[in-house]
């Protein structure tokens, strides 16, 4: 046994010299590729328009701190404070949308996992097909449908379609099947708990890792959504931050000053998601593993 150990250790050290160096080099180079653009965005948001055009783009200037404060000040009051409004809209679309969406998807997925009913497999297959339907393909027909009932250019026209998560149903079904024991549901039944109450008090707690993953996925997909609000909304006070920055960027040639706001706004708008990613990373990994298992 100890001979095997030392044989393993020997082969480890043989590999380590060249392979370790090469591995670190590859990862180091790509770290620059992935982080440098974000770092550039941070640096650029600390510059005045003049400095943005003239100074070295990958480092701060001597007035970076006051310039950053000034840029943020301008960003938050420009055009009657429309930017904080966009941020708030995005938080509501993505936060409330993902919350409601996760709840409804987990209820449906749980029912598909735990109850036998006629049409169960057919329903699951249709929902599974829905996973393959990209959101961009639905946006235009949704616009036509909403315009028939005169609901385009409203909060609901963006909110309602984005709470539907077929992927969430798929993941909840798989997760509920493996993590919520039938015996436990039966025990709750014998204790006199109703089926729906059992779901909310017992099963949901057991499904919580999957629920967090579904929430995160849906939050990101709503936060990143661009095409649906683009076709639905005219009133800029309803815009999410992505669409808002897109319209600002389209005005850069007429109003050069707005470029500073686009850059600072872009940086501010990625902070919430970056923070969420850093703090919730293990849920991503768990959930992606479950999703990839099939």
């Amino acid at each position: 046994m100890s001979a095997q150990r030392s044989a393993l250790a020997a082969s480890d050290s043989r590999e380590s010299v060249v392979s370790r160096g090469a591995a670190m080099l590859i990862m180091g180079v790509f770290t620059l590729y992935f982080l440098l653009p974000i770092f550039w965005l941070l640096v650029s948001s600390t510059k005045t328009l003049g400095n943005f055009n003239s100074t070295f783009s990958l480092w701060f200037t001597s007035t970076s701190l006051p310039d950053l404060v000034a840029n943020l000040g301008k960003l938050f009051i420009y055009d009657g404070g429309v930017f904080p409004r966009w941020l708030l809209n995005s938080v509501v679309y993505a936060g409330a949308g993902a919350l409601v969406g996760t709840l409804l998807a987990s209820m449906c997925g749980y029912a598909l996992a735990k109850y036998a009913f006629p049409g169960r497999e057919a329903l699951f297959n249709v929902v599974l097909g829905g996973v393959l339907v990209p959101a961009t393909a639905l946006a235009l027909p949704l616009f036509l449908i909403f315009s028939q009932v005169q609901l385009t250019d409203t909060f609901w026209s963006v909110f309602l379609p984005s709470i539907v998560s077929p992927f969430g149903v798929y993941l909840s079904r798989i997760y509920a099947a493996s993590s919520v024991p039938d015996e436990l549901i039966e025990a709750a039944r014998l204790d006199g708990s109703g089926e729906v109450r059992t779901f909310f008090t017992v099963s949901m707690r057991l499904m919580s890792p999957a629920l967090v993953t579904i929430f995160l996925f849906q939050f990101v997909s709503i936060w990143n959504n661009f095409f649906l609000p683009l076709v639905m909304l005219r009133d800029q006070t309803l815009y999410p931050v992505t669409l808002g920055l897109y319209t600002w960027n389209s005005q850069v040639s007429e109003i050069p000053d707005i470029r500073t706001l686009v850059i600072a706004g872009a940086f501010v708008s990625i902070i919430p998601l970056l923070v969420a990613f850093l703090s919730l990373q293990r849920f991503w990994r768990n959930g992606l593993g479950a999703g990839g298992l099939k």
Binding site: S19, Y33, L35, I38, N53, F226, F227, V231, I263
Partner: protein, 303 residues
């Protein structure tokens, strides 16, 4: 044991009724929304694509009439549509393999004993996924610009946004955003492999490279196929990045990708033709994903 069975005798009927109520409460809310915002738009698009606008004479009032497949005849005659399909296929043939090979290499390195600071690399590589497509495209738009880029040495000599290069400029943005996401999917599949398998291979004298090639890659093939299918779908639906890049360059036409063509056709407005484009695009997406899955399954069975 016997007692509890006896007690349960009268149950099934009652509990089945209770179950029906529970199933309805649990399934119907999602079901209604799925019907309203997924299935209805799909059927509506198909229905729209079968209509034509008919006028009596040049100035007659427009009326919508059933046109059968006449919109589809227009789709198949539309050279811009097929050019845009060709463009995204070319994009996908290059970008999807490059992205997935990078994702696979990074995942294997993260899973190997060769690396230190794994947590840092995992976070750094995944961070771009937190950047929405619109913002990633705006950011890279400035990074590509000849006068404002930090890489002026490159961008002032080569126009990265010219007609011949802009497709690859977009490919870089998409790769930058999604490599880390795909890496994480493959990495979590690698973590699910029991480590005893590697120990046995090591005792047989296999090095890290050999283990990766002969054991890890075949075992995570389903995860790689999954990422490939989603990448193919994403490629055919390409819209956000080219739409944003139109603000930086004139070399992207309003018919650059199939979805841009759908969008510009619907702004004309010609919803019926736009719907027909969408339906053909959706069918093409399904066929391509399906063919890809069949091909990879067959290969998986052979080996």
């Amino acid at each position: 044991m016997t007692a509890s069975v006896l007690q349960q005798r009268p149950r099934p009927r009652r509990s089945r009724q209770r179950n029906v109520r529970a199933i309805l409460i649990l399934v119907v809310p999602f079901g209604v929304l799925f019907l309203a915002f997924y299935l209805t738009p799909i059927f509506y698009a198909v229905w729209e694509s079968l209509q034509v606008i008919h006028r009596d004479g040049t100035y007659g009032p427009p009326t919508v009439v059933f046109g059968g497949l006449s919109q589809y005849v227009l789709v198949f005659q539309n050279s811009e549509f097929w050019a845009s399909i060709g463009r995204v296929l070319l994009f996908g043939v290059v970008q999807v393999p490059v992205m997935l090979v990078l994702a696979l290499v990074f995942a294997l390195l993260l899973d190997s004993p060769l690396l230190r600071g794994k947590r840092f690399f995992r976070l750094a590589f995944f961070a771009p996924y937190a950047v929405p497509g619109v913002i990633a495209a705006i950011m890279w738009g400035y990074l590509y610009s000849p006068s404002l880029s930090p890489f002026k040495l490159v961008t002032s000599n080569v126009d990265l946004l010219s007609a011949s290069t802009v497709l690859w400029a977009i490919a870089n943005v998409v790769t930058w955003v999604y490599v880390g996401y795909n890496m994480l999917i493959i990495y979590s599949a690698l973590l699910a492999i029991p480590t005893e398998i590697y120990e046995a291979a090591r005792l047989d004298g296999a090095g890290q490279f050999r283990i990766a090639w002969s054991i890890k890659i075949p075992l995570v093939a389903p995860a790689i196929i999954l990422t490939a299918v989603f990448s193919i779908i994403g490629t055919l639906q390409l819209l956000t990045e080219p739409e944003v890049f139109r603000q930086f360059t004139s070399s992207i036409s309003s018919t650059f990708t199939p979805n841009l063509l759908v969008y510009s056709t619907s702004s004309v407005p010609n919803f019926n033709l736009a719907a027909a484009f969408s339906v053909v695009l959706a069918l093409a997406t399904f066929v391509l994903s399906f063919v890809f899955l069949r091909l990879t399954n067959r290969r998986g069975l052979a080996s």
